[in-house]
């Protein structure tokens, strides 16, 4: 078949890239080879637009065993325990078929984690939808939530935390990011680097069908009106088979049979074989007629590009083939030796004893294009908002409006569809700042949280980037965990647009600065570009997933009030920053100005000293102050508790709205038993931490002196209405 410009374009390759391919091969590729190049050189696999910028992220630290570049990141949590985790996007497939898209997203990220030898212990997600009144939103929400639940519940791994947000920016391009966290023995971690020549390359798992052919290319192309036509490529997830694959892999990993292992994710057999060979500096020869196929008459092109789920590629040590095969047969899974490692440094593809394609591995991997795309700095906005120009609003009305908004409503409609308790190690479920998962059979635990702030990032990418890292860090602190490391999912628009590329670059600058200051390295992640349609790009939405350690397990504090008449303090300074706040958005539909300033020094000091108070068992509950400000934070502490709160009016700020709804950072509300108050106060004073007494807990009402009195029952009702009526 003659390779025409049209075919090249259909493969998502630029003509200059095609010229490059010809140079590397020193000839024209055939269609199979072209397909392989297109899969490896697209944005999703090659990171061609992002690679240069990702390099600046801090990825090292005492706690890091493996940083980015493997299937997932690995950190040390003491003893022989390692935590393996990663977040990944499945945005485009989920928009096309929400149930299967979200389900296979969960399946894919789980494989990334158990490929490395970990038993998955927790799932998290960050899902973003368009405006609730957009005609597609409701069915997308339903589909995505059931897909996430369907997969996680069936395979039996608890879905413990997440965030669900609505914003018109996602009307035509939703975000579905899934994170998996696993636990492994740190001396038993498996990597994808091939070693040794003539070793068996084994295909295990499900059979190969025509699913998702060119899925990875689809994830790297913008949607247009015709995106409906791309539908047949969506893969179907089979959590049952994945459960079998998980158990079979973990069983095989008990001995020393595996040299390297890699899951067949995006670009399936192509990317897994190239990755393994490239890391090992080897070649690989595959006999494609041996690939287990689900459909008749599948071509080498289809086999190499299929994205059928629940498959793995393993390189086995000599003589281990039979014992390994027995394990996979026990679990009713395919196990076929389909090739071997070679010293040719080529990917050699045979079909019916004929060489159908041969490509130097480095042409697909290290020589893949890298672009230094043009980008522009975002100018800080000069927009100012003067409260005096706005219609006056009562505190109570403003609070009710925020608490009943889609973004702030109680999300149990969603979380009740996820099994959060299976495995019996979930110490703190979702609905708190972070979830807590016990390490099985041990007296320690990890805390996990995912966060994003698209509005802040849109307004100012550097501040926004810093802010999410800090917020994520705070969420782990409030449950008493020492934050260790993060994974990030960078959801952006079209990188060929210089404003978008600027947002990307500057968000990374912000993330880098905060991570460095907080010693909070990035150990894994994923970039998703081309989110948007018809030249309308989504708001920059980096999502941060953090993991922290609780060395000695204790009954979780949670963020709900525990007692009557305990003291409430606010750690951190309040300046009353209302620009980009929920208060303005929900009450006035104003989306203007700068996000709040980030002071990393205060951030670190406030957090570390709160951790001291928690360690010394001096506090009853704590909650970080984020979107919505102080009053929303206190309201959230009232939900699920039997208590209300009585708050004082501020001494300094004249505007109550600024004080109660300002979104200044590095702040926490902490509930302290009267008897412990002086001890806690001493620690805060000794460490120069700014704090103020803001009131105390009480029965039945949320009250501000002379300004507001609302019963906790009504508050709860307001917060629970939206989802149930949607």
């Amino acid at each position: 078949m003659k390779i025409t410009n049209k075919i090249i374009e259909k493969h998502g390759l630029k003509l200059e890239e095609y010229e490059n391919i010809k140079r590397l091969l020193q000839r024209e590729p055939n269609l199979l080879e072209l397909g392989i190049f297109s899969a490896m050189w697209n944005e999703h696999c090659s990171y061609k637009s992002s690679r240069l910028h990702l390099k600046k992220l801090p990825t090292k630290g005492k706690q890091v065993i493996q940083g980015p570049g493997e299937n997932a990141g690995v950190i040390d949590i003491g003893d022989d325990d390692a935590i393996i985790f990663k977040i990944e996007s499945h945005n485009h497939p989920s928009y096309i078929e929400p149930y299967q898209g979200a389900a296979t997203g969960v399946g894919g990220i789980l494989r990334d984690v158990f490929t490395m030898g970990a038993r998955p212990i927790a799932l998290l997600n960050s899902i973003h939808f368009g405006s609730p009144d957009h005609p597609k939103t409701k069915s997308l929400l339903n589909g995505v939530v059931s897909g996430i639940g369907g997969y996680g519940n069936c395979i039996g791994i608890p879905t413990v935390a997440g965030e669900t947000k609505f914003n018109a920016t996602y009307n035509e391009n939703i975000l579905v990011n899934a994170m998996a966290v696993g636990h492994a023995n740190k001396n038993k971690i498996f990597y994808s680097k091939a070693k040794g020549v003539n070793k068996s390359v084994v295909y295990v798992g499900s059979k190969t069908g025509r699913d998702g052919i060119h899925g990875a290319s689809m994830a790297s192309a913008e949607f247009d009106e015709n995106s409906d036509e791309k539908k047949p490529t969506v893969q179907v997830g089979d959590p049952f088979t994945e459960k079998l694959l998980l158990e079979a892999c973990l069983e095989l990993m008990k001995d020393n049979s595996i040299i390297s292992i890699q899951d067949m994710g995006a670009a399936g057999l192509t990317s897994s074989s190239v990755e393994m060979a490239s890391k090992g500096g080897l070649g690989m020869e595959l006999e494609l007629d041996k690939v287990p196929c689900r459909e008749e008459n599948m071509t080498p092109y289809e086999m190499m590009l299929s994205e059928s789920q629940e498959r793995m590629l393993i390189i086995l040590d000599d003589g281990k083939e039979n014992s390994a095969k027995k394990i996979f047969e026990k679990w009713d899974l395919d196990f076929v030796i389909i090739g071997k490692t070679t010293n040719t440094k080529n990917l050699t593809l045979k079909f019916n004893n004929k060489i159908e394609g041969e490509i130097p591995i480095n042409a697909l991997a290290s020589k893949a294009p890298v672009y230094d795309r043009e980008w522009v700095k975002k100018k800080p906005t000069k927009e100012k908002i003067n409260l005096k120009d706005l219609k006056k609003i009562k505190i109570e009305d403003a609070l009710v409006k925020i608490l009943s908004s889609p973004n702030h409503s109680n999300k149990s409609w969603i979380t009740n569809q996820y099994d959060q308790s299976v495995m019996c190690d979930t110490i703190q479920k979702s609905g708190s700042d972070a979830a807590i998962i016990r390490i099985h059979n041990k007296d320690k635990a990890i805390a996990v949280s995912v966060d994003s702030s698209a509005n802040y990032c849109k307004s100012n990418p550097i501040l926004g980037g810093k802010q999410i890292v800090c917020e994520n860090w705070r969420n782990l602190i409030t449950v008493g965990a020492k934050p260790l490391a993060i994974t990030n999912c960078l959801n952006f628009g079209n990188p060929e647009n210089k404003e978008v590329m600027g947002e990307f670059t500057e968000c990374l600058d912000g993330i880098k600065e905060a991570c460095e200051f907080l010693n909070y390295p990035v150990v894994s992640g994923n970039v998703s570009f081309y989110n948007g349609t018809n030249k309308k790009n989504i708001f920059p939405t980096p999502v941060i997933g953090g993991v922290g350690l609780i060395k000695k397990l204790f009954k979780p504090l949670g963020h709900s009030f525990k007692k009557d008449k305990s003291k409430l303090i606010l750690i951190g300074k309040t300046f009353g920053h209302l620009e980009q706040s929920c208060f303005l958005k929900e009450n006035y539909s104003i989306n203007k100005g700068m996000p709040p300033e980030i002071n990393l020094l205060n951030e670190k000091n406030n957090g570390e000293n709160l951790l001291k108070l928690i360690d010394k068992n001096l506090i009853l509950s704590s909650h970080d102050v984020s979107n919505g400000g102080l009053l929303v934070t206190v309201s959230e502490m009232i939900f699920n508790s039997n208590y209300g709160a009585k708050l004082h009016k501020p001494k300094k700020l004249t505007s109550l709205c600024e004080y109660f709804f300002g979104e200044d950072q590095a702040r926490y509300v902490v509930e302290i038993d009267e008897n412990n108050y002086s001890k806690a106060e001493k620690i805060l004073k000794d460490n120069n931490i700014y704090y103020e007494m803001i009131g105390n807990t009480q029965k039945d009402y949320l009250e501000i002196d002379g300004e507001l009195k609302i019963s906790t029952k009504d508050l709860f009702k307001v917060n629970n209405k939206w989802y149930n009526n949607y």
Partner: protein, 225 residues
């Protein structure tokens, strides 16, 4: 006391129940579904999960597995059988318990802590509970909506074969306290000889204060007494 937990492909609460049994000093063994012989056991547990992915009907395919014939034989000989969640569904598919579990009335998977009332506290499984004791216990299922014909329902009532009913924290039973639409709020039932218990709630998730509470412990200690 010796217990056996049957592991089907797709079971996912097998480890959880094993941990709970061992914590309660049962001598437990895991039994793979392809086995044709059961180890000598006083209690056989069919654990929760998604055996065979819940494909076709929940529990239907596990109900045809090799080991099930042995379980049926043991059950008929009087061995104690406990089916939790998917295990309950398997028991109804094999006919060891009558009735069936339909999809939840809201057509969604439900995971939350609910209250159930101990209706019969005079069996091998429940003698450590007080009559009408209210337990706070976790449910996690798609098909937990118990249904049976009126003749069987009459028998369940007459012979005191209803094990647990969903209720609120004060023990009231009505439409709003019924999470999944079960007939008469039934959360668990016995066979007529009361050696087989099938229940949707997960007692194995309720054995540790730090994780949840200890409301499930008495089910295991009843078996030991």
């Amino acid at each position: 006391m010796r217990s056996s937990v049957i592991v089907f492909p797709g079971s996912n609460c097998d480890r959880d129940i094993a941990v709970a049994l061992e914590k309660m000093q049962f001598k437990n063994q895991m039994v793979w579904h392809k086995e044709t012989k059961l180890p000598k056991s006083d209690l056989i547990v069919l654990p929760g999960g998604f055996s065979y992915g819940d494909y076709l009907r929940s529990g239907a395919i596990a109900g045809k597995s090799l080991i099930i014939d042995e379980v049926i034989k043991e059950a008929n000989a009087g061995c104690l059988i406990l089916g939790i969640c998917n295990g309950f569904q398997i028991l109804t598919e094999t006919g060891l318990l009558k009735g069936t579990l339909l999809r939840n009335k809201n057509l969604k998977f439900i995971n939350k802590d609910v209250h159930v009332k101990v209706i019969n506290n005079e069996t091998k499984f429940s003698n450590k509970y007080k009559k009408n004791q209210i337990l706070n216990i976790n449910i996690a299922h798609n098909e937990g909506n118990y249904f049976t014909n009126s003749k069987h329902l009459d028998q369940l009532k007459k012979d005191n074969l209803i094990a647990f009913k969903y209720c609120n924290e004060d023990g009231k039973i009505n439409e709003s306290t019924n999470p999944n639409g079960s007939l008469e709020s039934i959360a668990g039932i016995y066979n007529s000889k009361k050696n087989i218990l099938g229940m949707m709630p997960h007692p194995e998730r309720m054995v540790e204060e730090i994780v949840s509470n200890k409301d499930g412990i008495n089910l295991f200690s009843s078996l030991l007494s």
